[in-house]
Symmetry: C2
Subunit: 219 residues, 2 copies
DNA sequence: ATTATTATTTAGACAAATCTAAATAATTAA
DNA sequence: TTAATTATTTAGATTTGTCTAAATAATAAT
């Protein structure tokens, strides 16, 4: 299936919002892609025509098997480029998303596979998200919850679900990165804040707002 | 100056055809970009508006200082990616052009400079063409002639002026690559063929047709 | 079970980049 | 120096991806 860059971005966004097999609404997709619902409806018709999505008026969108395969290829390219930028070109964590957003649209299986090989066929990207292999097989992300809902005390950061520059810069400033181990000191319901402690650092207070984008698993 | 991918391709092509300061004709540009003269006229108006070219009806096209700067940035990115693909991902000589054609449009100075650094700030790309530095300074390609017009006997291959897959594959098959040293045994006028000898290889006969795309300099 | 609200779609328009066919300018040849 | 040829531009159309405003469907609230 030969898709334009715009179409690829739709497929990727649908994949992301589907999270398994949820039906994706026009509005949610418009919000995700920072566009208008009317534009989504237009594109939905095209993607249905190209058989990458199932779509019926007012019934929402899901990827076909073909569409899922395409999405996984895009995700694979994106995450491999992120690895490359961080590991080989010394970019920091929060800078790579936008660049990978462009690089991911160079569709060459050979390039993708060579890149993967060059990086040692990594299984997770710098944000902790799993990288699909050449056949589109993706390891289920390990059991993780957002920091605001964690019940264990000692945790390790596995991913960040909001790639906004502001959040990533904030985390950087607080020395919270992938693999950072932390301990929950207290969770204050009355002001929606969480007190955490990272080894060798002063105790930190963060909002639930931020915490819900930090994925962790017990350590 | 913020140019679209299409606009960047025009600027790059104009730079190539200008070769110093020649005026570029609508037809020549259309041929180079595999498009129609009418499309070139349309785009010329836009690029003039954006002040990257000088253009008057029926008078042809030249780059402005700004346009030249942009062209050199694109050329820089293109050639650095070619280096990366050949040196780091083990692509062969003739495969990299098309991929670099896409990668070159990711415009990030930081990425470009990091990539250059990572590659050891190379001065020439795998085709032997010089790579502009971060300021757009480009070393004049060393004195070279096409193989069919060379007068010296012992030569070294410095570049190939035709990036067609067929030619590059042919050269690959004959073990003619960048830096290959060769000797002219004979130049037969009557059938437009040239006999050459590469060390440790049987004598080879190639057509002038091919030879004129192989750039060499005396060694 | 109507009404109000929200979500989605349709209709019609626009910008970018291209095209074809026709018109016009520039160049070359007779 | 006219006529013929070639190069270039214009006019009008097309495709892709987007938009706004209006219409319609689905859902929630009274």
């Amino acid at each position: 299936m030969n898709l334009s860059v715009a179409e690829e971005n739709y497929v990727k966004a649908i994949y992301k919002l589907q999270e398994g097999d949820n039906v994706v609404s026009t509005n949610a997709l418009a919000y995700e892609l920072d566009t208008k619902p009317a534009s989504v409806t237009d594109m939905a018709k095209k993607l249905k025509e190209k058989q990458v999505i199932d779509y019926e008026k007012y019934k929402g969108i899901t990827l076909t098997a073909e569409g899922r395969k395409t999405a996984l290829q895009i995700v694979r390219r994106h995450r491999l480029w992120e690895c490359f930028l961080v590991e080989k070109l010394s970019f920091s964590w929060e800078e790579v998303h936008e660049l990978a957003e462009e690089l991911e649209h160079v569709r060459s299986e050979k390039l993708t596979n060579r890149l993967s090989e060059y990086l040692g066929n990594p299984l997770i990207d710098p944000h902790g998200d799993p990288i699909p292999d050449a056949n589109g097989k993706i390891t289920k992300p390990r059991p993780q919850t957002s920091l605001d809902q964690a019940n264990a005390k000692r945790l390790v950061v596995t991913a960040v679900t909001d790639q906004s520059v502001s959040l990533l810069a904030f985390l950087n400033a607080k020395s919270i990165k992938l693999g950072t181990q932390l301990e929950i000191i207290a969770h204050y319901e009355y002001d929606n804040s969480i007190e955490i402690k990272i080894k060798n650092q002063p105790t930190l207070t963060i909002s639930e707002q931020v915490a819900k984008h930090i994925m962790v698993r017990p350590v």
